[in-house]
């Protein structure tokens, strides 16, 4: 990697000396920090190198010399001090709970999902690791999600956010100009997000908004749909799982110290290195249809896909959403303070995903838009109710989202990501389909009433959606 970077004549490292000093057998992986400003000024060739660097950071195991560990900081996404140091550097509840990103995101390939053993716990309430608990009153357990295709997911979310916010702006203007309250149906890329009423005084009644936060920022990541971007997710995860604290959130500007976690290491990961992680994740190829399978499976899958649509699954698990632009900008346009924003840098990184072979292979619609075959709608739905509460087995809302609402799982790769459900505790596709309640009740009942052979065809179809190895 270092050799390649210098071969191009581009010096992207924040400190070339650090790179030179690292012996070839070094166990550390953050010893070659990248300089964001230099990255942003480079061309596509540098992006390839950036992706390679990102993969190294994603797979590499962080060491204490890298900054692993956070003796004085909690896992919270808002910098929070522990009341007392944890006696354990690693523990599964409060973290650290992983050595590398790929510790969990590895099945069947790096960047993908993980089984029950890779579950993590979502809890921000405790300032002392001693009190961490798996009691569902205080903690939610989450399975690891696959990141393949995440770049296109983020681009879809950005476009949908813009579309919804434009509608908000327009209806607010209309209410002001007409002097009467105006109500609109919010929708983006054909997905409905409820209704919004604007009043002549500029105030907005948001209580009929559905499936998205009232600020109309579409947050497409995590099972709950509460993270805006790969960058935000990455900064969160680096602290939570590894104790690696990104300067853009934990640095002196926002905390008064460059060593917030008091592990003796300042400025543990640069903006450039976070970008490398983001870019690598954003360029992971989308899942695809299984190419080689027995004829009987192919026929069943074809039949199953038809049934999948016929019984209503595709209402939420929408087969594809159109994407206008393939330019992935880092940082993204809807970041807030604590995650690098466009306003924080002179120039951002602009990466044209259209140059990637796997993007070229995607279908396009009549308008030339790439059809992202995600089998999802990037919307949150109520997925549990009193009659079927298997997927509502939590007592704690997460980041303002009710406990029985989750983002529609993207199914493009579901054939490779068992087990299922947000807790990873459903072992088969049939089990997770039967666990659907709430808004999915009708589809679930329709599934349950199908003859076994037709249910099997749906399973065959879903199993054909896989992450290539």
């Amino acid at each position: 990697m270092k050799h390649a970077l210098f071969l191009t004549g581009i010096v992207l490292f924040a400190s070339a000396a650090m790179a030179d000093d690292a012996p070839p057998w070094s166990e550390n992986i953050l010893d070659r920090p990248l300089n964001f400003e230099k990255l942003a000024s480079q061309d596509t060739a540098a992006m390839e190198l950036l992706i390679s660097h990102g993969e190294r950071l994603f797979i590499g195991k962080f060491t204490t010399a890298d900054g692993a560990g956070r003796p004085a900081a909690t896992q919270a996404i808002v910098p929070t001090k522990r009341r007392r140091p944890s006696p354990l550097t690693f523990q599964r509840l409060a973290g650290l709970d992983a050595n590398s990103c790929a510790s969990c995101h590895h099945d069947p390939v790096a960047g993908a999902a993980g089984d029950f053993t890779t579950n993590v716990f979502v809890s921000e309430g405790f300032e002392s690791a001693d009190f961490e608990t798996i009691d569902p009153q205080f903690s939610n357990e989450r399975g690891t999600t696959a990141l393949q295709g995440a770049g296109l997911i983020e681009l879809l979310a950005r476009e949908m956010t813009k579309e919804l916010r434009d509608q908000r702006r327009d209806v607010a203007h209309l209410a002001r100009s007409t002097g009467t309250a105006q109500t609109i149906d919010l929708s983006a890329k054909g997905i409905s997000f409820g209704r919004l009423t604007a009043h002549p005084d500029g105030s907005l009644d948001v209580h009929e908004i559905e499936g998205i936060d009232p600020d109309l920022t579409l947050r497409p990541f995590s099972q709950k749909g509460v993270f805006t971007s790969l960058r935000q997710f990455t900064v969160n995860a680096l602290n939570h799982h590894h104790g690696i604290q990104a300067s853009e959130r934990f640095g002196a500007v926002w905390t008064g110290t460059d060593d917030f976690d008091e592990d003796g290491l300042a400025a543990e990961i640069t903006e450039g290195d976070v970008s490398a992680l983001v870019v690598w994740q954003a360029t992971l190829a989308t899942p695809a249809r299984k190419q080689i399978m027995p004829e009987i499976w192919a026929r069943a899958a074809e039949k199953g896909e038809q049934q999948f649509g016929a019984i209503g699954c595709a209402q939420c698990h929408v087969p594809a959403l159109p994407l206008d632009s393939l330019i992935f900008e880092d940082p993204g346009p809807y970041e807030t303070a604590g995650t690098l924003r466009p306003g924080d840098v002179t120039d951002g990184i602009h990466m044209d995903l259209a140059t990637l072979d796997w993007v070229k292979a995607l279908d396009r619609d009549e308008q030339g838009r790439v059809l992202v075959p995600l089998f999802g709608d990037l919307k949150r739905h109520k997925i549990a109710d009193a009659a079927q509460d298997r997927l509502g087995n939590e007592l704690l809302s997460q980041r303002f989202v009710p406990r029985d609402e989750f983002l529609t799982a993207e199914l493009w790769g579901v054939g490779s990501t068992a087990p299922y459900g947000h807790r990873g505790d459903l072992t088969t596709l049939d089990e997770v389909i039967r666990a659907h309640g709430g808004a999915a009740t009708a589809a679930r009942k329709a599934y349950e009433t199908l003859p076994e052979i037709e249910r099997e065809s749906i399973i065959a179809f879903l199993r054909s959606l896989e992450i290539p190895q």
Binding site: A76, I77, V78, P79, T80, E124, G125, E127, R168, R169, A172, R176, A198, D201, G202, S203, L204, D205, V206, H207, D213, P214, D215, T217, R249, A252, V253, W254, T255, G256, T257, T336, A337, G338, R341, G343, D344, R399, F400
Partner: protein, 557 residues
């Protein structure tokens, strides 16, 4: 405070523990040793010449003090407009025409108030004294004070007669208001300065201050003033719940230049009973300063506010002492420990002591830490005090201290500041600054965050909250406490009318959220009831109406 025949500065210097420090070393050396702010420093553009405001506060001796501004929405569009005291010049009202995120732009408008009553104005405070949800103004004057009832569209009517309010003939320099427990209409307090007609004036002739309690069930009436005597030349007064009893007391910051045997004051104002001053037997300690302005905030979120008191020389920052309790208002000064003494100019080579006036705690860099702004300026030409005396911006730091960034932020201007207002005039989530200067144009600074004239760049996340009690008395929830939880931290602020220097503001309450993308907001309404928790996302204006299930968002035009 006024042209000196004796030198109070000299006396002060001999007494001050800071004297040695003040006299030691050149100013540049001081600058070299100043701590650097780790918190992000906002950049301000001086848009005085382009914003459309042409106004000066000026006049003889009586207008060496005052020079206030009221920042409030007078036309119902929720953008902050500006009323400016003029002294011997006419007071002015400017509508805010700023585009969201754009340069500051204002337009002079008429108030409907006769010309002669818009002169001799020292300051003004917005409030809704008649509960019609249109903001009114209390106008402080040299002579008859005015209660102006807002009519909407930035028009006002003098309501003194309708209210049975005698505006008096005093030299009024300060104001505060509060809705006392069970009252439909507010109690009004007017702080007066020197009684020029008294024998021996101006020395030792401070006027009494006045407290007007409302009577009348359907409409407010203020037929009778209670005299808060003795008065010690109050240049700033503030109703504040110092002991979280739910019963605001009246704090007064007084100018020692004219009183004899006076001191800072705190009056208990028990509902339905006469006010009484706290005395030494109550634990109240004598503090004598050239008190000019009060700013209040609960820095350590213990429920007990801290108070910054501006003065000539060092600013005080008072915190309840360990010996204090809910009945004993014993304060200690933490200004030196926290770095807010601001006792002399922080830049330039003028080593003489500063003169501080308006003060306000706000979060100007949105990092979730309170900052302290102080308007500074020589009284007129007092030789023992700094002539070049720029305003202070003391940025709160994570270690609990404050660091001066007035110069690096672009606020250090060679003018004699008096009143001021800190508000988001262009609704971009960054607080801008207006300063009324004596004998000079008003200063107007646009906060461009980390940006410059070409581009605004954001600082931390923020939240702006407009509190309302629709259909109830006290429509703007004066006396409420707003608690904003971000992560495991909480920041709070009270909705108050008063303090500062002759300047008040009412509108969106601004909170910096730092790196938090979300916040949980609770409101303790003026009657003590707590709201449920409102969940809000950062970087929005929100309206919280009492008993509403959810907040309403608000979109800037």
């Amino acid at each position: 405070m006024t042209p000196c025949r004796v030198s109070p500065a000299a006396v002060w210097l001999r007494r001050s523990a800071l004297a040695a420090a003040l006299l030691a070393g050149p100013g540049l050396a001081q600058a070299d040793t100043r701590p650097t702010s780790l918190a992000p420093v906002p950049a301000f553009l001086d848009e005085t010449g382009t914003a459309g405001i042409a106004h000066r506060y000026d006049g003889p001796w009586e207008y060496f003090v005052g020079g206030g501004t009221a920042v409030f929405d007078c036309d119902g569009d929720r953008r902050p407009d500006i009323f400016l005291a003029g002294g011997e010049n006419r007071a002015s009202l400017y509508r805010n025409r700023s585009e969201s995120g754009g340069p500051l732009t204002f337009e002079l408008t008429t108030t409907g108030v006769p010309e002669r009553q818009m002169t001799r104005v020292l300051g003004a405070y917005p409030l809704d004294f008649n509960n019609d949800d249109i903001l009114d103004l209390a106008v402080l004057r040299l002579g008859e004070n005015l209660l102006l009832a807002g009519q909407g569209d930035c028009r006002f009517e003098i309501a003194n007669r309708a209210l049975g309010f005698d505006g008096g003939r005093e030299w009024t320099t300060s104001f505060s208001a509060v809705w006392e427990t069970g009252e439909t209409f507010p109690t009004l307090a007017f702080g007066n300065y020197v009684d020029r007609s008294a024998p021996g004036a101006p020395w030792g002739t401070c006027h009494d201050n006045f407290l007007f309690r409302p009577n009348g069930a359907l409409a407010p009436r203020y037929p009778e003033a209670f005299r808060l005597s003795p008065g010690y030349c109050a240049l700033s007064i503030l109703f504040t719940d110092w002991n979280r009893s739910g019963e605001p007391a009246l704090r007064m910051s007084n100018d020692r230049h004219y009183y004899r045997d006076g001191q800072e004051q705190l009056w208990a104002v028990p509902a339905g009973r006469p006010p009484r001053p706290y005395r030494a037997s109550d634990g109240w300690r004598t503090v004598r300063i050239w008190g000019m302005g009060i700013a209040s905030i609960d820095l350590n979120v213990d429920g007990f506010p801290e108070y910054a008191l501006t003065s000539m020389g060092d600013t005080k920052l008072q915190m309840l002492d360990d010996e204090a309790d809910e009945t004993l208002p014993i304060y200690r000064d933490i200004a030196f420990d926290t770095g807010v003494t601001a006792h002399r100019p922080y830049t330039g080579d003028d080593l003489r002591p500063s003169t501080g006036w308006h003060a306000d705690f706000q979060d100007l860099n949105n990092d979730s830490l309170w900052d302290l702004f102080i308007a500074k300026g020589n009284v007129e030409a007092m030789p023992d005090f700094a002539a070049f005396d720029p305003d202070n911006l003391l940025l709160g730091q994570w270690d609990g201290r404050f660091v001066e960034v007035g110069d690096s932020s672009g606020l250090a201007k060679d003018s004699r500041g008096r009143g001021a207002g800190l508000a988001d005039f262009n609704l971009d989530g960054l607080l801008d600054v207006i300063v009324v200067n004596r004998s000079a144009p008003v200063s107007l600074f646009r906060n461009v965050g980390r940006g410059d004239a070409n581009q605004t760049r954001p600082l931390g996340n923020w939240l702006a909250i407009d509190l309302r009690q629709p259909g109830q008395p006290n429509t703007r929830a004066v006396g409420a406490k707003v608690s904003v939880k971000i992560g495991n931290r909480t920041v709070t602020r009270d909705v108050l009318i008063g303090g500062g220097h002759a300047s008040g503001q009412m509108g969106f309450l601004h909170f910096g959220l730092g790196v938090s993308e979300r916040a949980e907001v609770r409101v303790r309404w003026p009657d003590g009831d707590w709201s449920h928790t409102y969940r809000v996302f950062a970087n929005h204006h929100v309206i919280i109406e009492r008993d509403a299930a959810e907040v309403r968002l608000w979109m800037a035009p």
